[in-house]
């Protein structure tokens, strides 16, 4: 941990979970502030600029998706959604509104902490220039327009490269289908999910160690895809 611990705003209305999250996050060296309503949350975000916001979608006074929309109007504070299984559609809506990631209840603490770390990492490396990205055996070099797997150049078609570039730019973030299709194929193809399916399948064939059980480009059921940054070997 750094000297100045990252601050996390927890928006959760249930007492048990409030206690659990506060205790566990502080045990891992974060500064955690817990609020129980959407109104309070908005005040807090304006006042104290937390590093990460942990948002439960089922709030008593405000729709969670609505909250994301409002925060995104003036702030790019990373937002991590906490949702229960019966709110799949909300989850996608929140992601499309600009939420950064999600965990599904019940989650293990390890899972939540990993997501928080990934979200914090994303925040640090946002810049527009050339990208050199590494994850496990994958190496993506936008300056030379090269993709390597275990040091060997992988030949990608134009669309395959574009799609991979999109995932690299949003590494560790879960990307829903529609924005991905819009970014790579254009707005007219925003609903042609089959394109995404076929091309993700192809990228896996070329990049994964075992395409049937991908480690890099993983599917988030019913939501989208995520490019995972794994330690390089």
């Amino acid at each position: 941990m750094t000297d100045d611990p990252s601050s996390i705003l927890v928006i959760e209305d249930e007492g048990q979970l409030q206690r659990l999250l506060q205790t566990s996050l502080e045990a891992h060296g974060y500064r955690a502030v817990v609020v129980g309503s959407g109104r309070e949350a908005l005040l807090r975000i304006t006042a104290s600029f937390p590093d990460v916001v942990l948002l439960d979608l089922g709030l008593p006074d405000m729709d969670g998706v609505e909250l994301v929309t409002r925060v995104r109007q003036w702030s790019d504070t990373p937002i991590l959604i906490v949702s229960s299984r019966d709110r799949e559609e909300d989850k996608i809506a929140a992601l499309d509104q600009g939420a950064n990631d999600y965990v599904t209840k019940p989650f293990s603490m390890g899972e939540l902490l990993a997501r928080i770390r990934a979200t914090l990492r994303q925040r640090m490396k946002r810049d527009g220039g050339d990208i050199l990205y590494r994850s496990a055996g994958l190496e993506f070099d936008s300056q030379r327009r090269e993709v390597r797997r275990n040091g060997e150049i992988v030949r990608l078609s134009r669309k395959e490269y574009e799609l991979l570039r999109y995932f690299v730019l949003n590494a560790d973030r879960v990307m829903t289908h529609e924005p991905a299709l819009k970014a790579v194929w254009g707005p007219a193809q925003a609903h042609e999910t089959q394109y995404l399916r076929v091309f993700v399948g192809r990228l896996r064939q070329k990049l994964e160690r075992d395409p049937a059980q991908p480690e890099l480009l993983v599917t988030e059921s019913g939501v989208g895809y995520r490019l995972r940054t794994l330690p390089t070997t």
Partner: protein, 544 residues
């Protein structure tokens, strides 16, 4: 149910002009006249032409030639138009012949025996010919009529047969209506409408396609059909302004229904009154059958729901208490200030809490899925899905429950995309993986394979283990079944019935049987492949 509006090409091929009865009248220079007058004028014209021609050529023609020509004309006219035009023509021809070709010329007088004989023979021949051709015409017309009637009977019988076939097994009104049109469109039936009638008015229940007109005239006709029990609307005396013809449906006990039919007759085929009422009767019977089966289903469902509810209560009390007891027990031990645990002991208690919690989570998920299935509120969020992706994701999420089992995947590349709800289908796969792992010895391998089988993609989950009795394979999919020797944490026994529910909802099938090599169990899911799923693959590839 998709709307099925049939627009088959019903235009008969155009007959060659010589077959068309009214071909001559359609020629531009033939004036439009009353149909009854036309043959007489025509006869007059033919006689004039023949006489004028013969008169012009009179130096080269004998009287016999001229009479023969005229007789030919009379014969043709009698064949073409029947007795009266040809009789008139014969009279005209006789007079013209006398006037122009028999001495003394240009008078109607006859002189000498020879001329009388010639004239008499002509008239007699013409009359005889007319008589016989008329008779032959009548017979041929009768034969044609009989043949046409026989043909119509045959068509009607075929239609009724087809209707009976189509209607069987249809349960909803819109399905019945669509099936009715399917069976009868060859007769020109383009629209069928079912409406119910009561004191408040007429309500449209079902119709094929949105194009069915059901306006004020139609409502009044429907009302009249019900009130008077007679056909009304189009081509009847009651409310003929209605586009649809309405027939009351008899034998319906709790609903007062009328059937509206729109016939766009294409080639003059007429639908007999008998056929129309048979059509109505068949639809009525099918409706009754559907109602009856719906009621029986309701009763059966109710009984099953009751059974299910008690099984559910039993299982909740047992299956939920066990993990809860572990959690409460372990946590209370840990918080007890007087207890002193070794590091290892503490770890074990914490693992117990974690595992029990995860088990409860799984049970609740299953109960939730089951209740959604039971309530029929399953909302499918279908999209194109890569089967290999689906299997891979399910495997990665099921790994926790499949501890100590190896999972082998056999997924050939290039499988067609399927149109399913990713989350639900993944849950079905996870349940199957859980089940396959649970009922196989530790250290064994669970195999998942997928094959493109043309109309379906078949995904098979196989484990090794003891064979089961054949009856058990079907029973596996019933809720609260724990066949074979269930392990301790077998759970609610809902997993497989949820799978069946999910797969059924996607129009797929699920079945179980002994494994390929005679050991263990193989559960096969077959998901329908739409042509679009294959097309999507090539389209996406072409777009690169």
């Amino acid at each position: 149910m998709q709307d099925r509006v049939h627009t088959p090409d019903r235009r008969a091929p155009a007959a060659p002009f010589w077959r068309r009865r009214r071909a001559l009248a359609e020629l531009p220079f033939v004036p439009r006249l009353e149909p009854g007058v036309r043959p007489f004028l025509f006869g007059l014209a033919v006689v004039s032409i023949v006489c004028a021609g013969s008169f012009a050529l009179r130096d080269w023609m004998s009287v016999a030639d001229v009479t023969a020509l005229l007789l030919l004309a009379v014969l043709w006219l009698s064949v073409a138009f029947g007795p009266w035009p040809s009789q008139l023509t014969a009279m005209l021809a006789a007079m013209a012949c006398n006037f122009l070709f028999i001495e003394p010329y240009y008078t109607f007088r006859l002189e000498g025996t020879h001329e009388y004989v010639t004239f008499a023979v002509f008239v007699l021949s013409a009359a005889t010919m007319t008589y016989w051709t008329t008779k032959a015409r009548r017979q041929s017309a009768e034969l044609t009529r009989i043949a046409r009637m026989a043909e119509q009977r045959r068509t009607e019988a075929q239609v009724l047969q087809r209707l009976a076939n189509q209607l069987s097994g249809r349960t909803t009104l819109s399905e019945l209506v669509a099936a009715g049109v399917d069976a009868t469109w060859t007769l020109g039936v383009t629209t069928l409408v079912l409406a119910s009638v009561d004191e408040d008015g007429v309500a449209l229940l079902a119709s094929n396609g949105p194009a069915a007109a059901f306006d004020r005239a139609e409502r009044q006709a429907a009302w009249a059909a019900y009130r008077h029990g007679i056909p009304t609307g189009h081509q009847t005396l009651v409310e003929p302004g209605s586009v649809l013809q309405f027939h009351p449906l008899h034998g319906m006990d709790d609903k007062r229904l009328v059937l509206g039919i729109r016939i766009d007759a294409h080639d003059g085929t007429e639908i007999s009154e008998g056929l129309l009422s048979a059509l109505g009767d068949q639809i009525a019977v099918a409706l009754q059958r559907a109602q009856l089966s719906a009621r029986m289903n309701e009763a059966r469902l109710f009984a099953e729901t009751e059974k299910l509810r008690s099984a559910l209560l039993n299982s909740i009390t047992h299956d939920f208490r066990t993990p809860l007891a572990s959690i409460i027990g372990a946590a209370s031990s840990l918080t007890d200030p007087q207890a002193h645990f070794t590091e290892d002991g503490r770890r074990r208690l914490l693992d117990t809490i974690l595992e029990s919690g995860q088990r409860l989570h799984r049970y609740i998920g299953n109960l939730l899925d089951m209740s959604r299935l039971e309530a029929g509120v399953l909302h499918l969020n279908c999209d194109w899905v890569d089967v290999a992706d689906l299997v891979g994701t399910a495997v990665s999420h099921a790994e926790f429950n499949c501890a100590e089992r190896r999972i082998a995947l056999d997924l050939p590349p290039g499988l067609p995309l399927v149109h399913v709800d990713f989350v639900l289908m993944e849950q079905a796969f996870i349940n199957l993986l859980d089940n396959a792992a649970k009922y196989s010895p530790a250290g064994s391998t669970v195999t998942v394979s997928a094959r493109d089988e043309g109309a379906v993609v078949a995904i098979r989950f196989s484990n090794t283990g003891p064979m089961r009795a054949l009856t058990e394979y079907e029973a596996m999919f019933e809720p609260f079944q724990r066949t074979g020797a269930p392990p301790d944490d077998s759970g609610l026994g809902l997993g497989l019935s949820i799978c069946r529910g999910f797969v059924d909802a996607h129009g797929g099938t699920i079945s179980a049987g002994p494994g390929a090599d005679g050991t263990g169990t193989t559960v096969s899911i077959r998901l329908p492949v739409e042509e679009a799923g294959r097309r999507a693959m090539t389209e996406a590839a072409a777009d690169d």
